[in-house]
């Protein structure tokens, strides 16, 4: 329980550090290409708390939270976002392209919906190899309107693959409200079209997410096939850092309403009520999280930039071996 709280706090703190850096102009080279997860922490953490190290996830353009929840190192993530050589992908990927194969992170992704069939492929690979791993596809409400979503769900359902489709419905695809983009009220209803379970959960309640995903993971590990879980959630920040629309497509009242449902504050209160967390413990966790994020930031700042000519290395497998000798 405390680990769940710690992980959510870690994501929030990490994202706030990036926001702060962006405001200071330190990420001005990445013009708008950083999407923060603030507000949606319960989805990533509630989901990944059910996963083993060898389970897989595919992620999205808003993927920092997924990576941290799955166990990625903050320092290498921060370095990647700042385009440094020490980043997970040596500064080639940035925020939208982080992969950590040793802990099953198959990549954040710049194309909406693209990770969905890839998670299905990981599921197929699991089936062919005969292991009891599972694969989770994280995606948003916008992705549920892509062909990749529908093709992916059909394949996973058809082949009974161990895949959990976790839809983060944060109500907006960039500026477009879900009511203007999506033919159904509940995206989970789309599961019916593929003959698989579909469930709506409160994406601001980490335990609700945890429970729903737990059941789906158990089903998947038992070979009973995929589940679609729609988490109703909200991003507290814009679609991307530096979002410029004024007036916004969202009202201040709406944002405030959702902020009152903050998944971290809510879970903290629950832990207090259950006597599972003391004020001192909470403060200790906050201090620890802040120092971890600071250390990651310091690591990123002190890290070297990639060598310019390394931009041509590794386009192909063989070439990389030759050039990097």
């Amino acid at each position: 329980m405390l680990e769940i709280y710690r992980k959510m706090s870690l994501i929030r703190s990490f994202e706030e550090k990036i926001h702060e850096s962006h405001e200071k102009g330190m990420l001005s080279f990445a013009k708008g290409f950083v999407h923060l997860y603030v507000g949606e922490e319960a989805v990533a953490v509630g989901t990944c708390a059910n996963l083993r190290k060898d389970d897989y996830i595919t992620s999205t353009h808003r993927g920092h939270g997924h990576c941290i929840a799955k166990g990625a190192r903050l320092d290498k993530m921060m370095a990647e976002i700042f385009g440094k050589r020490t980043g997970y992908c040596q500064g080639r990927g940035g925020s939208m392209h982080i992969a950590v194969s040793e802990i099953g992170i198959l990549g954040t992704n710049g194309i909406v919906g693209a990770g969905i069939p890839q998670a299905v492929g990981a599921g197929l690979s699991i089936k062919l190899r005969g292991t009891d791993q599972v694969a989770v596809a994280f995606f948003g409400d916008g992705a549920s309107n892509t062909g990749a979503f529908h093709e992916g769900l059909n394949l996973a359902a058809l082949w009974k693959l161990p895949v959990i489709f976790v839809c983060e419905n944060n109500l907006y695809g960039i500026s477009v409200h879900v009511s203007c983009s999506t033919s159904v009220q509940d995206i989970a209803d789309r599961a019916k079209a593929y003959g698989i379970p579909g469930k709506v959960v409160d994406g601001m309640d980490v335990l609700a997410v945890f429970e729903a995903v737990r059941e789906a993971v158990q089903r998947a590990r038992r070979g009973l096939g995929p589940t679609l879980i729609e988490c109703k959630t909200y991003r507290f920040r814009g679609h991307f850092e530096g979002e410029f629309w004024k007036p916004s497509y969202r009202t201040d009242e709406e944002i405030d309403q959702w902020k009152k449902k903050c998944p971290i504050a809510r879970f903290k209160k629950k832990l207090f009520d259950m006597n599972a967390l003391t004020q001192e413990e909470a403060e200790a966790i906050e201090r620890e999280v802040a120092s971890q994020v600071e250390a990651a930031f310091k690591f990123a700042m002190e890290s070297p930039l990639p060598e310019p000519e390394s931009a041509l290395y590794g386009v192909f497998a063989q070439q990389q071996e030759v050039k990097e000798k």
Partner: protein, 321 residues
């Protein structure tokens, strides 16, 4: 050496690689029932490893990407070149870039086999040769065998490699026969084959155009014109040096391919030769290609836009004159 067809050669490569490595599997539309490259494989390997898929190219290629990232070696069959645009998001944005973007964190051993080409009245949606589109994409290898031997050897190499490969076959080559070794015969990528030695003109030809160029060369020989025919076999990587060495010898270049003329394969080869061997040329570079129109249905129309033997002969004669 025994002779088998191009389709049998592909089948043999698939079978041998599936026997050698359990992570290799085949998927695509109608692969179980196919009478061509996957003929009968399902009997030997079962429906899990010879997997029929829905008509769902984007999903299937995406699925192959996910499987490749997690330890498998999928060989996907896409039924026609014209279906590549349907799934090109996963080929171009995902498969081709993944290993680079993630700085080798992830391997992408995936082969996408595609029978392309015209000459069968397939009309606008079943006749294209889109190799030039994909040749443009960094991170994607591209093999385009013209003979049964190369089909087997290059496919084995493609399956064993750790890079995504677009494997371009030609429908009209499936029935052609040629010598193919039994068992091991992998062919490295990036090594062109000189199909015929000659000193008067260099003809670079791909896929079915190799067959047409060889026939043209026979007729040209009767006129005393000695053509050298080079088959690149893989377009990425491309064996530039064999082409350039040949041009240095002959001073003339004709490039023949079934991809369209504008920004076609020949445009790239002509550019390379212009950059690296212009001073050796004593005539303009010529291209014999499909004309820039969508594929029409009626044979009269289709024959008009497809490149053929007569056009190669005419082009070479003009250069020699």
């Amino acid at each position: 050496m025994r002779e088998i067809t191009y389709a049998q050669a592909i089948r043999e490569a698939l079978r041998e690689e599936m026997l050698r490595d359990k992570s290799v599997f085949v998927m695509g539309e109608d692969v179980r029932m196919s009478i061509w490259a996957t003929d009968g494989l399902v009997k030997e390997f079962g429906e899990e490893r010879v997997r029929d898929t829905p008509i769902s190219e984007l999903g299937v290629v995406g699925c192959a990407v996910g499987a490749a990232m997690t330890g498998m070696r999928p060989v996907v069959e896409i039924m026609f070149d014209d279906l590549l645009p349907v799934c090109s998001e996963q080929i171009v944005n995902q498969a081709a870039r993944t290993r680079y973007m993630f700085a080798r964190n992830i391997k992408l051993p995936i082969v996408i086999r595609v029978p392309g080409g015209g000459g069968v009245s397939g009309a606008g949606h079943h006749s294209s040769s889109l190799e030039a589109w994909f040749m443009h994409v960094p991170g994607l290898k591209l093999a385009i065998p013209a003979t049964p031997y190369d089909a087997k050897g290059l496919l084995k190499t493609a399956i064993r490699g750790d890079d995504p490969v677009l494997f371009k076959e030609h429908k009209l080559l499936y029935g052609t026969k040629g010598p193919v070794p039994e068992g091991e015969c992998s062919i490295p990528f990036g090594e062109a084959e000189i199909r015929k030695d000659g000193g008067d003109v260099t003809i670079v030809a791909t896929s079915l155009m190799v067959v047409k160029a060889l026939k043209a060369a026979e007729k040209l020989a009767e006129e005393g014109i000695d053509a050298e025919i080079i088959d690149p076999r893989t377009l990425v990587p491309l064996d530039e040096s064999k082409i350039i060495d040949s041009v240095k010898k002959t001073g003339k270049l004709v490039v023949c391919h079934e991809s369209w003329r504008r920004c076609g394969v020949g445009s790239e080869i002509a550019s390379i030769v212009a950059e690296k061997a212009l001073e050796y040329l004593d005539a303009p570079i010529k291209r014999v290609t499909t004309k820039d129109a969508p594929f029409p249905y009626s044979p009269t129309l289709e024959e008009y836009i497809l490149p053929n033997e007569a056009e190669i002969i005419k082009t070479v004669r003009e250069l020699i004159r």
